[in-house]
Amino acid sequence: MTILDTIGSTQTVGSHRPWPRAVVDDAGWARAIDEFAAGRWTLSGLWADVDAVHMAVISGANEIAVLTYQCSNGRFPSVAARHPPAMRLERAIFSLFGYEPVGTPDRRPWLDLGFWDVAHPLGKRGAPQREPYAFLPAEGDALHQVPVGPVHAGIIEPGHFRFTANGEFVVRVEERLGYVHKGIESLMAGATIERGAQLAGRASGDSTVAYASAFARAVEAATQITPPARALYLRALMAELERLANHFGDIGAICNDASFALMHAQTGILRERTLRATEACFGHRLMMDAVVPGGVARDLNADGEAQLRGLLAELRARFPRLIELYDNTASLQDRTVTTGIVKPEYARQFGAGGYIGRAAGRNFDARRTPGYAPYAELSFDVPVLAAGDVNARVWIRIREVEQSLSLIEQILERLPPGGVATAIAVSGPCEGMAYAEAFRGDVLVWLRLGDDNRIRRCHLRDASWFQWPLLETAIENNIIADFPLCNKSFNCSYSGHDL
């Protein structure tokens, strides 16, 4: 039974591509929440629009649809009341648009930390209300609180963590995020497609290729344009190089947080080699603005290809020794094994993507499901483990490095000839949506274009939205000193979440 059959809706929006968008009534909305609560469907996004709230749904059969609830009175039935993964998304909708989730168990703001000049900046703007923020309580004898952040001790992004501990053991940690909220979605509204691509590429700098690709593919879906095959292969090449660089950085940083600096130094070399190759090939170390709607901005020449083959040879020679080093260092394993366990039922319920979900049994990778070109033509495995601990998240990354190396080889072998860009032309109002698998998980981009070539509304959903809450569960009963290790093994994006 399809998603639209299940909710009993026939009112679909014609210009929404590639998946259907249906406007549903109260009964249809409630039926969708039933499916989430029963664990049959996954909530993949929840965002507001002019007098409407949209949800992205992935069914048990991996079918995708967007369901829309019209809320001209500024109220919509809370999803979080029966499906907790929607909680922060609904709080963000209230803070940004002012729409009230009726029946929500948590009415506190999200992203709005009380410093803006306006309330509900994307909806009916009002005067800001500044109330003290109440953290969730923890009760018991001999508990103490440790507030951490927003400014942290290292070179990392800002966020606040409120620990409640009993001695060394964490009883509860609550995240408070939004410090790097830049208002990207408000800057998107009215922007040209070119500027939109630049903004999307800076939602989370470490995933600039993934974001720019998802944005480009959403535009291409909306305008029904297919980029040249060579451009699609080059996007995949950049995406795998981005995954390599980030996984090298993460594997080293996780080990470094367990005081094993040797691994950090070694993976740092591999990361730097990768970034130098990307700069030589695409003119930018992080490949910012290299993926554009319609194709890619830079073609790969013979020199670049040679650089990449050299890089692959070096990585193939050096990386196996680092795996061995990780696997044979008992003092390191002592820190990572059984630390920070994500329960598989939470990974499934929250639809956690990336290495966080895959280390806890959730077999999901946007390159496979829904899948996008050219991955169907390439052969790769999606590694999945069940343990859900820091160690499993390291191993998923290690296995993904191996898969990315193989993918890059395949791409270089099969890179089709031809052009790398197609012009974008908007012939009328249209809507598009796309997923891309960033190194940390699936990015969702949804947008509506006007006939003046400008963006009306664009929503970017980072994988972190469904991963951050699981960090709170993973740290429970671990010691405070292991929090940096757990946090690094998650490496959620602050900027991608805060926007």
Binding site: F115, E157, P158, H181, G205, G268, E272, L286, S495
Partner: protein
């Protein structure tokens, strides 16, 4: 592990020669650095970093400064955990309204004399994010800035050139 360590001793170092300090940076610093402050510190600086709203791209390149190729610490430069220990504050991003207060408090927690490096295109006036309801603007809209290092993000070499300019300016050996 032993093999990696021995190989590290027997093969040549990956660390590259220091780049020349940035001339433009020296000129900008010439106007802001106080001669008295310069003489009070040795040729060593402790750096505290604050992300005031960055996309995290600049952070990636700041991290790269510590890898084997750039080896920041050979210049006497190191990142420290507390603003109380820091001589230099590096700030990235457009300053968001949500981070303004935290940035000010970090700056105020640093002892004098102190320098501020605004890193990346966004740190100069807000960049791509200027004009948003959630953004104050550039770093200099909140605290005094001694040096801007442009780029989106600036490469580790560009960062190093800026930091070396600060060092030279500070021990009076240049300009």
């Amino acid at each position: 592990m032993r093999r990696s360590l021995i190989e590290g001793l027997t093969t040549g170092a990956l660390t590259e020669p220091a780049p020349q300090p940035d001339e433009a940076a020296l000129a900008e610093l010439a106007q802001s650095t106080n001669r008295a402050a310069r003489t009070r510190l040795g040729r060593s600086l402790s750096i505290r970093h604050v992300d005031a709203g960055s996309c995290n791209g600049c952070e990636l390149e700041l991290h790269a400064l510590s890898n084997a190729f750039y080896d920041l610490e050979r210049f006497g430069l190191r990142f420290v955990a507390s603003p109380r220990h820091a001589d230099v504050l590096t700030v990235t991003g457009p300053v968001t309204r949500n981070m303004r207060e935290a940035l000010l408090r970090t700056y105020d927690a640093m002892p004098d004399p102190k320098w501020v490096l605004a890193i990346g295109g966004c740190a100069r006036g807000g960049g791509l994010f200027a004009g948003s309801y959630a953004v104050v603007g550039g770093v200099s809209d909140v605290i005094p800035v001694d040096l801007h290092i442009d780029g989106c993000p600036p490469s580790p070499t560009a960062l190093l050139r800026g930091l070396l300019a600060l060092l030279q300016r500070q021990d009076g050996s240049a300009v």
